[in-house]
């Protein structure tokens, strides 16, 4: 049973619009699908894309994720199912030699990983991770350098859990190894902080690696295991979604902690925790995410992602705007709008001057110089479409575009077709759009509200604030204290905020963390995610913006 048992038919991109050299790329390869069963494989791939893109945080990741399928025919249908491991004894001649029953465990489904990697590399050279879909309704799968799963109901969950290891370096959050009753040798995690971002031995609030996500009112540890001889199987003592330190993780009953009570890295069929979600969001964006305009506005620089290294990507600019769609800049003299094409000094003229621009995941929107109409960029050349009348301010993010009425200040959401807008709220001092909703500051700046998603219903989530900043990181929203200027991160529940840093001239929320300009704009700092630790990453700047750049 070798590659002589079939042939590679070719590749097809089935999801995503990211530039191939800057994408997070999943390749699905079929095994045990005969030449007449290729449509079954195609359907399985479509089902995988649906499962993945409806699993948070992938549902909000936008355009960074590409998925390809590689059609491979096998001589026989199915996979080996050895009788010794409780299987039917069936054998199948397949391209990747898939077999159930590895290590005498029927559900352990493995294949020839060298052939899988070579095939994936030949078909989609830039792939990030390869997953083999095995044509069998017997439940099974496995992880490692490649993932495998079968067509049994629920088996896509195996692939999504395994992506957590292979592509994101996430640890297992379950608290046992073989997990047999009376398991020994896994009572207390040996001393030594694990590398992975989602398990820890350190429960100190000021140094906890996921400290950015923990409400000051949440106890640490949040749940301690009363009996290290066994796994703590009690239900959570705090509301679901609370981030803290829950004892039992990384194969040990005690002395290792996970961020939430439940997570897909602990059990299939449940959502990823906030910490794993943040790792996935940050890693899936291969693009760089922070840009700065020099103090004299004579050049645009892009942060290289580590140290203090920046790359000059453009000359003089008036104003920068960024978002999921990318980076745009205005010409400082003409006001004309230019789009950054992904390589230094490569910019495309896409429009004329406007009073304001705003970038969503899909395109850029502009307000005419006299603010009498809103236009949407069509995506090519200099073509724009008028989508609305007069507006005061535009705000955009992953959730979409909102605009204020120039006289009443009322807030309207653009519904996607010209002149189709929904009134969703009354006037505010400022709004900020995240990947899942819009937040607003009352006109007197004495409270922060979150839009509930329907009608004109809003929920108060915080008290007075100076400015709001929105982006991909964490829950997507930060706000400054109106008197001190201190920066607070919203933790996803009303009145749950965490002090994150001191005052700055401006902040930009990227997919990996929040970046800030010092009050005198003489340096750019990056928040490290733990305690109040910030690191200087750049020198003086006029402004910083975050997006897929």
């Amino acid at each position: 049973m070798t590659t002589s048992d079939g042939s590679v038919q070719g590749r097809t991109q089935i999801h995503g619009r990211a530039p191939r050299n800057r994408a997070f790329t999943v390749v699905l390869l079929g095994d045990g699908f005969t030449s007449t069963q290729q449509t079954d494989f195609n359907t399985a791939c479509t089902n995988f894309v649906t499962a993945l893109t409806t699993t948070p945080p992938y549902d909000k990741i936008g355009r960074s994720l590409n998925v390809w399928r590689v059609n491979v025919t096998s001589t026989d249908s199915g996979a080996d199912d050895p009788a010794g491991a409780g299987g039917t004894g069936a054998t199948a001649r397949t391209y990747f030699d898939s077999t159930f029953g590895a290590n005498n465990i029927r559900r352990l489904l493995v294949c020839n990983s060298t052939t899988v990697l070579q095939t994936a590399a030949a078909q989609v050279p830039e792939f990030t991770v390869a997953i083999v879909v095995v044509n069998s309704t017997i439940y099974g799968g496995s992880g490692g350098s490649i993932g495998t799963y079968s067509l049994a109901s629920g088996a896509t969950e195996i692939a999504i859990h395994e992506l957590g290891h292979t592509a994101y370096g996430l640890a297992d959050e379950y608290a046992c190894y073989a997990c047999t009753s009376g398991e020994t040798g896994h009572d207390v995690h040996p001393t030594g902080e694990p590398t992975e971002p989602n398990v820890t031995q350190n429960t100190r609030r000021d140094t906890l690696k996921w400290g950015w996500a923990v409400d000051p009112g949440t106890a640490l540890p949040t749940m301690s295991n009363p009996n290290c001889a066994t796994v703590d199987s009690r239900p959570s003592t705090v509301p679901a979604g609370t981030v803290g330190c829950f004892e039992g993780a990384h194969y040990y009953h005690c002395a290792a902690f996970r961020p939430e009570h439940g997570c897909k890295m602990r059990n299939l069929g449940v959502p990823f925790c906030q910490v794993c979600s943040q790792v996935i969001r940050a890693r899936t964006k291969v693009t760089k995410n922070i840009c700065a305009l020099t103090p004299s506005r004579n050049a645009v620089y892009r942060y290289d992602g580590s140290g203090t290294s920046w790359t000059k990507i453009g000359g003089p600019a008036g104003q920068l705007y960024a978002g999921g769609w990318g980076l745009v800049a205005t010409n400082p003299s003409s006001g004309d709008l230019y789009r950054y094409l992904g390589t230094p000094d490569s910019w495309q003229h896409i429009g004329s001057a406007g009073a304001q621009f705003a970038v969503t995941n899909d395109t850029v929107y502009g307000l005419t110089p006299s603010r009498n109409a809103v236009y949407r960029y069509d995506g090519s050349g200099l073509a724009w479409t008028r989508i609305g009348g007069p507006a005061g301010q535009l705000y955009a993010g992953g959730w979409g575009l909102v605009a204020t009425n120039p006289s009443s200040g009322d807030l309207y959401r653009y519904l996607g077709t010209p002149d189709s807008w929904q009134h969703i709220g009354s006037a505010g001092a400022q709004f900020a759009v995240t990947s899942d909703t819009v937040y607003g500051l009352t006109p007197s700046r004495n409270a922060v509200y979150r839009y509930d998603g329907s009608g004109t219903s809003w929920t108060k989530i915080g008290g007075p604030a100076g400015n709001l900043y929105a982006g991909d990181w964490g829950r997507g929203l930060l706000a400054t204290n109106p008197s001190s200027g201190d920066l607070y991160t919203y933790l996803g529940r009303p009145d749950s905020w965490r002090l994150t840093g001191s005052a700055g001239a401006q902040f930009a929320v990227a997919s990996d963390t929040v970046y800030g300009l010092t009050p005198s704009r003489n340096a750019v700092y990056r928040y490290e995610g733990s305690g109040l630790a910030w690191t200087k990453v750049g020198d003086a700047a006029h402004s910083v913006v975050a997006g897929d750049i």
């Binding site: 590399a121 490692g144 379950y174 997990c179 291969v286 050049a299 290289d304 920046w310 390589t343 750049g538």
Partner: protein, 147 residues
């Protein structure tokens, strides 16, 4: 902004390895047009991890990326009933893995490295400051890059 001028994108090479125990073999190397994420090149490593390094003519490390899930002596077993725990089982450490490494012109060699293997005395977590500049990593194998 501080900025040395930089070419973009830097060239990268995909490497595919096969391993059995701690013995490792380079199966293929292939130039690939893709940005290597700083998530990979800046990944922290701990004792016991496996990484792939690119090195210059003098053996100096240029970049290091994690070899996740490689050399692992266990496999995950998934329950059909999702309320049941996921478990692990010991398996022979044998298989294949791939990495994409940044490959600037000066990169001539790649090494598969076992970071500070755990046989030795573990360093106390209480010691503050950088670890002593003693090379404790073990090269499992080195290979020439085809340029």
């Amino acid at each position: 902004m501080t900025n040395p001028q930089q070419t973009d994108p830097a060239p990268a090479v995909r490497l595919i390895f096969e391993y059995e125990g701690d013995s490792v073999r380079l199966v293929s190397q292939q130039p690939v047009d893709t940005a290597v994420s700083s998530f990979e090149t800046d990944a922290t490593t701990r004792p016991g991890d496996y990484v792939v390094e690119t090195r210059d003519d003098y053996g100096k490390r240029l970049a290091r990326v994690p070899a996740r899930e490689a050399f692992r002596g266990s496999a995950e077993v998934f329950p059909e009933d999702q309320k049941e725990p996921i478990t692990r089982v010991d398996v022979e450490a044998r298989g294949a893995f791939t990495v994409i490494v940044p490959a600037p012109a000066e990169a001539v060699q790649v090494a598969v490295v076992h970071v500070d293997p755990p046989e030795r005395e573990p360093r106390s977590e209480d010691i503050i400051g950088p670890p002593a500049e003693v090379r404790q990593d073990v090269d499992l194998a080195t290979f020439q890059l085809e340029r």
